[in-house]
C-alpha cells in the first residue's frame, strides 16, 4: 500500500527516508519539487501528484512535508489519515513534530515507522500500544539509559491484544482512579465588512484522559444532547444506545483518547464572542493610508476572552506600517507583508486598539481589496455552543473514581473581512 515515505523540510532537503518494499530512488521527489515550484507558495502544493510510475500523496504539517509513495491505487483519504497519524505519533513522542526533534530521535523514529507499517500496511498505530513497544524518550530516561546502558524498548509484548476488548489492555491498575474530560470547541466563522456573519460553525471534540482500574463501564450524559448535529464516535461507544437514549455508553481505552467529535452548524446557535471595528483606507494620491482596528467583546457569556492575536496579510504594495497599540505588541514583516498583533486579554473598560499610518509604494495603483483579519482567541470554562455534561456514571467496578470536566472555546478559522 504505502511503498516509501520521505520527510522533506521547507528548504527542500529530504532528511529522512524509509522504504517498506523495494527501495524507491529519491529522484521520485523531483516531481514533488516540480509541483512545489509551480505552486509559488509552498503551502499550495497539491496533496496528490501523479508521476509516471507512482502516485505521491503528501501532507504538510508543522513546516514539514510527509511525502508517501504509492504504487497501486488506494483510497486517498486512507493514506492522508495515516500520514497524519504518523505525524501525531511523532508529536506525542517528542513533544513536537519538527525537523530537529526527528533528527535527534532518528533511531526511535525508525523503530516507530517499522512498527507502524509492515510491507506497507498499517500495523500498530494506537498510541498506548506503541508506547508499550517503544518507550518514549524522556530526559530522565535518557540519563538513566546512558548510565545503565539499558534501552527504551519494552521487553515484553503489549498485552492489549490479549483482552477481549481490542482498545483496552487487560489488568489495568491505578492507585488514584481518575476520569477527566475536556470539551474543546473551535469557532470557524467569516464575518463580513458590516459585522454580520457570513458563515459560522462550531467544531467540537471531547478528549478524555481515563485512568481507571479494571474494566469500568462508563456512561456520560449531557444536559442538552440535541445540540449536537453530526457526531462521530470512538469505536468504543455503543452506537445504538446513543441513537435511542442520547447517552454515551462505553468501556474506555486506557489513557488519552478522543471520545467524540461533533459539529454545531445551525448559524443562529453559534455565538460570536468578539467584534472588530475597523477602518482601513488607502489613498491613491499620497501613497499612504490609514489603519485603525478595535476589538471588543460580544456574546461572551460573561467570561474573559484571552490569548487574542490578530494576523493580517497586507497588500503587496505596502512598504511599512507605523502603528501604536493601546495594548500588547505588534510586528510587521515587510517581506511577507504580514502584520501580527499580540493583544492578550480584553478588558471591557478599555478596548484594545491599533491605529496609525501605512506607507505604500509610490506610483503603484492603490490595492483593490482591503485585507482580511484572522483572529485567534481563547475562552476558558465555556463551551460556546452551551453544551454541558450532566453526569458520569460508572458500572462494573466498585471503587469511586475522581471525575472532572473542563470546557474551553477557541477560534478556529475566524476571519473578519474589511
Amino acid at each position: 500500500m504505502i511503498h516509501s515515505l520521505f520527510l522533506i523540510n521547507c528548504s527542500g532537503d529530504i532528511f529522512l527516508e524509509k522504504h517498506w518494499k523495494s527501495v524507491v530512488s529519491q529522484s521520485v521527489c523531483d516531481y514533488f519539487f516540480e509541483a512545489q515550484e509551480k505552486a509559488a507558495d509552498i503551502e499550495n502544493v497539491p496533496p496528490v501528484i501523479s508521476t509516471p510510475h507512482h502516485y505521491l500523496i503528501s501532507i504538510y504539517r508543522d513546516k514539514l512535508f510527509f511525502v508517501s509513495v504509492i504504487q497501486t491505487e488506494v483510497p486517498p483519504l486512507f493514506v492522508i489519515e495515516f500520514l497524519h497519524r504518523v505525524a501525531d505519533t511523532f508529536q506525542d513522542y517528542f513533544g513536537e513534530c519538527s525537523e530537529a526533534a526527528i533528527k535527534d530521535n532518528v533511531v526511535i523514529v525508525y523503530e516507530l515507522l517499522e512498527e507502524m507499517l509492515d510491507n506497507g500496511f498499517p500495523l500498530a498505530t494506537e498510541s498506548n500500544i506503541l508506547k508499550e513497544l517503544i518507550k518514549p524518550p524522556t530526559i530522565l530516561r535518557s540519563v538513566v539509559n546512558s548510565i545503565t546502558g539499558s534501552s527504551n524498548v519494552g521487553d515484553t509484548l503489549p498485552t492489549g491484544q490479549l483482552s477481549n476488548i481490542p482498545w483496552r489492555r487487560a489488568g489495568v491498575k491505578y492507585t488514584n482512579n481518575e476520569a477527566y474530560f475536556d470539551v474543546i470547541e473551535e469557532i470557524d466563522a467569516i464575518i463580513d465588512k458590516s459585522g454580520s456573519t457570513v458563515f459560522a460553525e462550531i467544531q467540537g471534540v471531547i478528549d478524555a484522559c481515563i485512568k481507571l482500574s479494571g474494566m469500568p463501564d462508563l456512561s456520560l450524559s449531557f444536559m442538552n444532547p440535541r445540540l449536537l448535529d453530526d457526531v462521530s464516535f470512538h469505536p468504543c461507544i455503543r452506537f445504538k444506545r446513543w441513537e435511542s437514549e442520547r447517552v454515551l455508553s462505553f468501556i474506555p481505552p486506557d489513557g488519552n483518547f478522543r471520545l467524540i467529535s461533533y459539529r454545531v452548524s445551525s448559524q443562529n446557535l453559534v455565538a460570536i464572542p468578539v467584534y472588530v471595528k475597523h477602518s482601513i483606507s488607502f489613498k491613491e494620491s499620497s501613497s499612504c493610508g490609514r489603519f485603525d482596528i478595535t476589538i471588543g467583546p460580544k456574546q461572551n457569556m460573561g467570561k474573559t476572552i484571552e490569548g487574542i492575536t490578530v494576523t493580517v496579510h497586507m497588500p503587496k504594495v505596502l512598504l511599512n506600517m507605523n502603528l501604536t497599540p493601546t495594548q500588547g505588541t505588534y510586528t510587521f514583516d515587510p517581506v511577507t507583508k504580514v502584520l501580527t498583533w499580540d493583544v492578550g486579554k480584553i478588558t471591557p473598560q478599555k478596548l484594545p486598539s491599533l491605529k496609525g499610518l501605512v506607507n505604500l509604494q509610490s506610483g503603484a495603483p492603490k490595492p483593490e481589496e482591503n485585507p482580511s483579519l484572522n483572529i485567534q482567541f481563547k475562552i476558558q470554562q465555556l463551551a460556546i455552543s452551551g453544551l454541558k455534561v450532566n453526569r458520569l456514571d460508572m458500572y462494573g467496578e466498585k471503587y469511586k473514581p475522581f471525575k472532572g470536566v473542563k470546557y474551553v472555546t477557541k477560534a478556529g478559522k475566524f476571519q473578519v473581512r474589511t
Binding site: 500500500m1 532528511f15 527516508e17 524509509k18 522504504h19 518494499k21 523495494s22 527501495v23 507558495d41 499550495n44 497539491p46 496533496p47 496528490v48 501523479s50 509516471p52 510510475h53 501532507i59 504538510y60 491505487e73 488506494v74 483510497p75 486517498p76 483519504l77 486512507f78 492522508i80 489519515e81 497524519h84 533511531v107 525508525y110 509492515d118 510491507n119 500496511f121 500498530a124 494506537e126 513497544l133 546512558s146 546502558g149 534501552s151 524498548v153 521487553d155 509484548l157 491484544q161 481490542p166 467569516i190 457570513v198 458563515f199 460553525e201 453530526d230 470512538h234 469505536p235 452506537f239 467529535s261 459539529r263 452548524s265 483593490e368 481589496e369 482580511s372 478559522k413 476571519q415 473581512r417
Partner: protein, 739 residues
C-alpha cells in the same frame, strides 16, 4: 547518493567498529551503530561497513539488533553474499523465547530482498504462522506475501494459500486483515482473494473489532461480495450502518462506497445513504487537515454530479477563507459553481465577486470562470458583474473576462448585445495569447455591432510584426476576413496589408498557409468566402450538452473513494493509461505463440477487444449470471434483433470458445458437444445499463458458415452493433487459431 566525504566517514566508522575497546563497551558500540544508521537515513552509501554490521548482529541487546536488522534490510540487495552470513543469526533469533525478538527477526528476514533467501525463510515463516504470540503471526502472514514477491513468477503455493485462508478465522483482528492483504498480493494474477459467503459474513461480524485501517481495507474487500438475496443484502447494510458515523473519514467513505455498490439496484437506498453521510462529509470539508479537506471536497463534487441540490442548503460552508491553500480554494469555487440555485445565487455571486480581486491571479481567474459557468443559467446578473470587473483594468482580470464572454455568447446568444457593449476598451489590457484570441474572435464574429471593431483590429495588424503567438495571427486573419464581409469599406485596406504581410514576411508556416488560403479564397469570389466563413454565430443547442443531465449514482459509485474524484474522470483516464504504458514498457512479454498452456487469445487481441468495447460505449458486466430456465424464457419471449452469417473453418473446440468469450464477459449458457452436427451454443451478456443480450451460434450442415442470431432485451441499436462487433472479433480470433 554520492556525497563528498562519505568515504572518509565510512572508513572512520569501520575503524571504530573493529576497535575491540569499543566492541567491549556496549554503549559506545551502540552509538557507533547509531551513527551508521543516521548517515544511512540521510542517503549516504554506508554499504562499506556491511561486514562489521553483520558481526554486530550477534548481541542480546534488542535495540542494537533492531538497528542492525534495519541496516541489513537496506543494503542486503547490494551485498547478497555477505548478507547470507547474517541469516544464521536471524534463524536462531526466530526461535528466541521472547516473541518480540522472534517477530523482529522474522520481519527482517522477510525484508532482505535478495535472491536465494527464499529457501531459508520458508520454514521460519511456516513456524511463525502457528506461533502462539499474535505479534509473530501478524509478521509471518505478511511474510508469506513478501516471500512470494521475491519470486513473482513462481507457482502459487497451494498449501500456503489454504493455510492463510484458514488463518482468516484467527482471533487476532490484525492477523485477519493481514491475511487478506497477503492473499491479495499472492493471488494477484488470479484476481486476488476470493470473498465468498462464509468469509464475507465472518468479516462483517469481526468489523467492530478491527482498527480503522483494518475496517477501511475490509470494506474495500467486501466490495467483491455479491449478496444472494435481498434479505441478506439488507442485513449487511444494517450491520454496516454504524460505520457511516465512524470518526475516521476514510472508514466513512469506504462504508459509503460499499453501500452504494451493494444498493446499486435500489436508488432510494443510495440516495438515503448520501443524505446520511452529508454530515460527516461536510465535517471532513472543514477538517483541520487541509489534505483531508481537499479529498472530501473532490468527493462532494462527485456527489453533486448526480444530486445537484444535495449541498445547496450548506452553500456557505464552501466560502473560501483567506488562509486556505489554493488547491482548496479552487475546489470550493468549483463546488459553489455547481450548487447554485434560485435561492442562493445572489449570495454566491456576491462571494465570487469578492474573489475576483484576490491577490493571486490564478484564484481570481478561477473565480471569473466560475461566474462564467453560472452565467449559463443566470445570464443577466453574471454579465453585469463581469462587465463591472472590466472596469478594474487589470490584465489578468480582463483576459479572463473576455475569454468567459467568448464562451458565453456561443452558448447564450441572447447576451451578445450586452457583451458587445462591454468590449470596447479591453484591448489595451490584454497581453496573453488566450485573451487576445478571445477578443479577436469576438470582434470578428460580432463586429457589426461594435462600432470601433475595425480600428481595434487595425491596431493589432499594425503590431503584427511584434506579435509572438502564431495562434493570435491566425485568429486575426480569420476575424478580419469575417469583418470584411460585413463592413468592407473599413476593412479592405487593413485586410490587404495583413494578407500581404502573412504571405510575404511571416515565417510561421501555418500562418502563411492560412494567408495564402484566404488569398485564393478571395480570388474565387465573395460568395464562396461567405459560404465558408459565415458559419452560425452561436449554437445554443450546445448549451444543453454542457449542463449534462444528472448522472446516475451508479455511473460513479465504483470510482468513489479512489483517486478518480481527485483528478476527474477524463484526466484520470489519461494518467492511468500513461502509467500503464510506462509500467508495461520494458517487461512486455514477447508475442505469445499458441502453445497449449498459453492464453487462448493473444494479449494484443484481448486489449483490442476491450478497447473496442470501450469505444462503442458498451461495457459488459463481468460475473453476470443467469439461469438456463431464465434464459430459455427470455429467449422465447424476444424477437431476433440481428442475424448474420460469419465464415468459419474447421471444427469447434467448445472449451476454447468458452474461455475466449469469458474474457470479454460473455457467458456461455449451453453448448453442444464438440463435433456434433448441427452444433449450437447459447450465450448471454449484460451491459452496464442492465440491458441483456442473448445470442445463438449455429453451425449447420455447411461447416464453413456460422450463423449468429442475437436478441436484445431493450432495443438499442448502438449497443447491439457494438455487441455484435465484440462477438465477431472473438469468433474471428478463435476461427483463426483453430484453422
Amino acid at each position: 547518493m554520492p556525497y563528498l566525504g562519505s568515504e572518509d566517514v565510512v572508513k572512520e566508522l569501520k575503524k571504530a567498529m573493529c576497535n575491540p575497546h569499543i566492541q567491549a563497551d556496549r554503549l559506545r558500540y551502540r552509538n557507533v551503530i547509531q551513527r551508521v544508521i543516521r548517515h544511512m537515513t540521510q542517503g549516504l552509501d554506508m554499504s562499506g561497513v556491511f561486514m562489521e554490521m553483520v558481526k554486530a548482529s550477534a548481541t542480546i541487546d534488542i535495540v542494537q539488533k533492531k538497528l542492525v536488522y534495519l541496516y541489513m534490510c537496506t543494503y542486503a540487495p547490494l551485498k547478497p553474499d555477505l548478507a547470507l552470513l547474517a541469516i544464521n543469526t536471524l534463524c536462531k533469533d526466530c526461535s528466541d523465547p521472547n516473541p518480540m525478538v522472534r517477530g523482529l527477526a522474522l520481519r527482517s528476514m522477510c525484508s532482505l530482498r535478495m535472491p536465494g533467501v527464499q529457501e531459508y525463510i520458508q520454514q521460519p515463516i511456516l513456524n511463525g504462522l502457528r506461533d502462539k504470540a499474535s505479534y509473530v503471526r501478524r509478521v509471518a502472514v505478511l511474510g508469506c506475501a513478501k516471500m512470494h514477491n521475491l519470486h513473482e513468477d513462481s507457482e502459487v503455493d497451494g498449501t500456503l494459500v489454504n493455510e492463510l485462508y484458514s488463518l482468516l478465522r484467527d482471533q487476532d483482528p490484525i492477523v485477519v486483515v493481514n491475511c487478506l492483504r497477503s492473499l491479495e498480493e499472492i493471488l494477484k494474477h488470479e484476481g486476488g482473494v476470493v470473498i465468498n459467503k462464509p468469509i464475507a459474513h465472518h468479516l462483517l461480524n469481526r468489523m467492530s473489532k478491527l482498527d480503522q485501517w483494518g475496517q477501511g481495507e475490509v470494506l474495500n474487500f467486501l466490495l467483491r461480495y455479491q449478496p444472494r438475496s435481498e434479505e441478506e443484502l439488507f442485513d449487511i447494510l444494517n450491520l454496516l450502518d454504524g460505520f457511516l458515523k465512524s470518526s475516521s473519514a476514510g472508514v466513512v467513505m469506504g462504508a459509503t462506497k460499499l453501500f452504494l455498490a451493494l444498493a446499486k439496484n435500489f436508488p432510494h437506498v443510495q440516495k438515503d445513504v448520501l443524505v446520511r453521510v452529508k454530515g460527516p462529509l461536510l465535517a471532513a470539508c472543514s477538517s483541520e487537515s487541509r489534505e483531508l479537506c481537499f479529498a472530501a471536497l473532490c468527493h462532494v463534487r462527485q456527489i453533486l454530479h448526480s444530486l445537484p441540490g444535495h449541498f445547496s442548503r450548506h452553500y456557505r460552508k464552501f466560502f473560501c477563507c483567506y488562509s486556505e491553500p489554493h488547491y482548496i480554494k479552487l475546489q470550493k469555487v468549483e463546488v459553489l459553481c455547481e450548487l447554485v440555485n434560485d435561492e442562493n445565487v445572489q449570495q454566491v455571486l456576491e462571494e465570487l465577486r469578492g474573489y475576483c480581486t484576490d491577490v493571486s491571479a490564478d484564484f481570481a481567474q478561477a473565480a471569473i470562470f466560475a461566474i462564467g459557468g453560472i452565467a449559463r443559467t443566470y445570464t443577466e446578473q453574471c454579465v453585469q458583474i463581469l462587465t463591472e470587473l472590466l472596469g478594474l483594468r487589470q490584465e489578468h482580470v480582463t483576459t479572463a473576462v473576455v475569454q468567459t464572454f467568448r464562451d458565453l455568447v456561443w452558448l447564450c446568444p441572447q447576451c451578445a448585445e450586452a457583451v458587445c457593449q462591454a468590449l470596447p476598451g479591453c484591448a489595451e489590457n490584454i497581453q496573453d495569447s488566450e485573451g487576445k484570441q478571445a477578443l479577436i474572435w469576438l470582434l470578428g464574429v460580432h463586429g457589426e455591432r461594435i462600432p470601433n471593431a475595425p480600428y481595434v483590429l487595425e491596431d493589432f495588424v499594425e503590431n503584427v510584426k511584434s506579435e509572438t503567438f502564431p495562434a493570435v495571427k491566425m485568429e486575426l486573419l480569420t476575424a478580419l476576413l469575417r469583418l470584411f464581409l460585413s463592413r468592407p469599406a473599413e476593412c479592405q485596406d487593413v485586410l490587404g496589408r495583413l494578407v500581404y504581410y502573412c504571405i510575404e514576411e511571416e515565417k510561421d508556416m501555418a500562418v502563411r498557409d492560412r494567408g495564402l488560403f484566404y488569398y485564393r479564397l478571395l480570388l474565387t469570389g465573395i460568395d464562396e468566402v461567405k459560404q465558408i466563413l459565415c458559419s452560425p454565430k452561436s449554437d445554443p443547442s450546445l448549451g444543453l450538452l454542457e449542463d449534462q443531465a444528472e448522472k446516475p449514482v451508479n455511473s460513479w459509485a465504483s470510482d468513489f473513494n479512489t483517486l478518480v474524484p481527485v483528478y476527474g474522470k477524463v484526466r484520470w483516464a489519461t494518467i492511468s493509461n500513461l502509467q500503464r504504458a510506462e509500467r508495461r514498457g520494458p517487461e512486455l512479454p514477447a508475442p505469445a505463440s499458441f502453445a497449449t498452456s498459453e492464453p487462448l487469445i493473444p494479449e494484443e487481441n484481448k486489449e483490442q477487444i476491450q478497447e473496442l468495447s470501450d469505444a462503442g460505449a458498451l461495457t459488459l458486466v463481468p460475473n453476470h449470471q443467469i439461469t438456463a430456465e431464465y434464459f430459455e424464457k427470455t429467449w422465447l419471449r424476444l424477437k431476433v434483433a440481428h442475424q448474420q452469417v460469419l465464415p468459419w473453418q474447421g471444427a469447434v473446440h467448445p472449451d476454447t470458445l468458452q474461455v475466449a468469450l469469458q474474457v470479454v464477459n460473455i457467458q456461455t449458457i449451453a453448448m453442444s458437444r464438440a463435433g456434433a452436427r448441427p452444433w449450437k451454443a447459447y450465450l448471454s451478456a449484460q451491459d452496464d445499463s442492465d440491458c441483456l443480450f442473448l445470442a445463438e451460434l449455429l453451425l449447420g450442415p455447411d461447416p464453413s458458415e456460422m450463423q449468429v442470431s442475437v436478441k436484445q432485451q431493450e432495443a438499442r441499436t448502438e449497443a447491439l452493433s457494438s455487441f455484435i462487433s465484440v462477438l465477431e472479433t472473438v469468433l474471428g480470433t478463435i476461427g483463426d487459431i483453430t484453422s
